[in-house]
Amino acid sequence: MGLAIETTGLTKRYDSLTAVNKLNLKVEKNTIHGFLGPNGAGKTTTIKVLVGLLRPDEGTVKVLGHEVHGDMPDVRLKVGYMPELPKFPKHLRGWELLDIYGRMYGMTRQKRMEQIPKLLDMVGLKGREKDFVGKYSKGMQQRLGIAQALLNEPELVILDEPSLGLDPVGMVEVRELIKEIAKEGRTVFLSSHLLFEVEQICSHVTIIHKGESLISDTLHNVSSKLSGPATVQVELAKTSETVIEAVRQLPFVSNIIQDDNMLTIELKTRDDVRAQISQEITKAGGVIVSMNLKGQTLEEVFMQLITKPQGGTAE
């Protein structure tokens, strides 16, 4: 699978502050790639370099196979971008704005007539398209931001904090929308500081802190690499060797720690295997009082990573 985004040694400084430090980022095509980091981690700066708003001080940037250096409008033909808390000209009506942006993408009138009502409907702005953008709420501008990012049916959609400023219903709708976009075969690169958002929709994740990439992999691997094996805690009415031995024979069990009637079962997998364990215990004559699957969440991984001492970043 090819790469939608590739940065090598990307560095961006603002005077003495290094906002992005030798960042190597690889975003595979047809994935939803989360770009996670606390506020000020360098997420927006990286994205601004990707879309040509900022020039890197060092390193190379490739978007959809094209090296990006400076103002390269043709690369942007295939990229949809929604900035963090987007601001649009207040003097234009919602529909006019999308129509003008559509023209900038070189879309034909027929294509604009098809695409704009569809997008307005999709983002929930149908019926408000004739209002001036100046009258839109923050949430409506956010929705307009998503619509304009999808206008050109881009191969790569870059969303900078897409849920910021949205109410809880809006946030759920946006997450569903992003999943839909990915189903259409587009690559979504999504920056967020909302861990649950990334956990729910992303297949891949890069965690950035103080301008440096701390880890980049599939969401599953990121959790596995850092959290160690998942465990299942089972409380039995009465422990017996037969039950322990039966559980030990399961192929995904690596170790069992017994503490009175409480068994801590360490797993080789991060899949939910509680049903198989329960079945095996019952078959061996055990009676289960309670059972919990314990695995580290992305939030725990994230906290673990960013609280580690960092070095090398000038601030």
Binding site: Y14, K48, V51, G52, L53, L54, R55, D71, P73, D74, R76, L77, K78, V79, Y81, P83, P86, K87, F88, P89, K90, H91, L92, E96, I100, Y101, R103, M104, Y105, G106, M107, T108, Q110, K111, G145, Q148, N152, E153
Partner: protein, 315 residues
């Protein structure tokens, strides 16, 4: 690339022009300026007629009223039109953050810059044309049939060229400072400094030629036959600065082979006298005014373009 999109640069360029034109004509500042211009134009037409009625003296017919006044848009009018049309054309985009979605569309920064310039030109052309038509109709009603109306397009062209000197200055200050306020105040400062210093230099010093090369109202001379003792009676005033190209163009068409004599105020036998400085052909005055205007436009527009092209979008 999407099969239904067109890479036609004209479509993309006109999208930028439309984007900017809609902004220009919906600006409250611009609409306010048009109201003021029409009010002043109406007053200049109606007041003499009212005074004539009140004093009982018949209003003198003036067949050169329209061509003589150049539709009444003086240096201050051109300066104000320039400020309201372009003071926030680029700096306003930075201030509001709308520059981000705009520059991430597949239009180059040069295209955005040129689109904004063309939109300013179209806006001014339309505003001036409407004012010219209004003054022509009004002038004909108040002062009787008008001579040389066929020269009005030339007046329009000259007025636009003069205004574009101010446009270029406002744009350059705005693009470099990224502040509409600094653009407006900075240009106002330049305008006021030139307005105050020009007559002083022109009247009292031997170095008045300097005014031929700086923006503004320049120095004033009189066409052939001017009597230095009573210059206003027989003479036709010709001003050299970049603000007076329209009037100089008309004078050149009407008196193509005439010379212009420039004076300063000097002391002769203890009395203030007009002292002749130099005489030169009207064609030289016109050519120099146009070249100086074009040079300023080229310099300031180039500076703006370079600053815009190199700007890092931190907003």
């Amino acid at each position: 690339m999407n099969g239904k999109t067109s890479l036609n640069w004209k479509t993309r360029f006109w999208a930028v022009v439309k984007y900017e034109l809609l902004w220009n004509i919906r600006k409250k500042k611009f609409l306010g300026m048009m109201v003021v211009a029409f009010t002043l134009a109406t007053l200049s037409l109606v007041l003499p007629a009212l005074l004539s009625n009140m004093t009982g003296q018949p209003l003198k017919q003036n067949p050169d009223y329209v061509i003589g006044t150049g539709a009444g848009i003086g240096g201050l009018g051109m300066f104000l039109f320039a400020v309201v049309v372009v003071m926030n054309s680029i700096s306003g985009e930075f201030e509001s953050g709308t520059i981000v979605p705009l520059l991430t569309k597949p239009v180059s920064r040069t295209m955005v810059f040129l689109g904004k310039l063309l939109a300013a030109f179209i806006t001014l052309l339309s505003a001036y044309a409407v004012l010219f038509i209004y003054m022509t109709v009004g002038g004909t009603i108040v002062y009787g049939p008008q001579n040389n109306l066929h020269l009005l397009p030339l007046t329009l062209l000259g007025t636009l060229l003069s205004t574009f000197v101010w446009i270029a200055i406002v744009l350059a200050i705005g693009t470099i400072s990224k502040s509409s306020l600094i653009a407006a105040l900075g240009t106002f400062g330049i305008f006021m400094a030139l307005t105050i210093s020009s007559p002083i230099i022109s009247i009292f010093t031997d170095q008045a030629w300097v005014l031929n090369y700086i923006p503004g109202s320049g120095m004033t001379g009189y066409i052939n036959g001017t009597n230095p003792q009573t210059p206003y009676t027989p003479g036709i005033a010709v001003a050299t600065g970049t603000d007076n190209i329209a009037a100089t163009l008309i004078n050149y068409v009407l008196y193509p082979s005439s010379d212009v004599t420039f004076f300063k105020i000097g002391a002769l036998r203890g009395q203030a006298q007009l002292v002749e400085l130099y005489t030169e052909p009207l064609s030289t005055v016109l050519a120099r005014s146009i070249l100086v205007a074009l040079a300023y436009i080229a310099i300031f527009v180039s500076v703006s373009w370079y600053a815009f092209k190199r700007a890092q979008i931190l907003e």
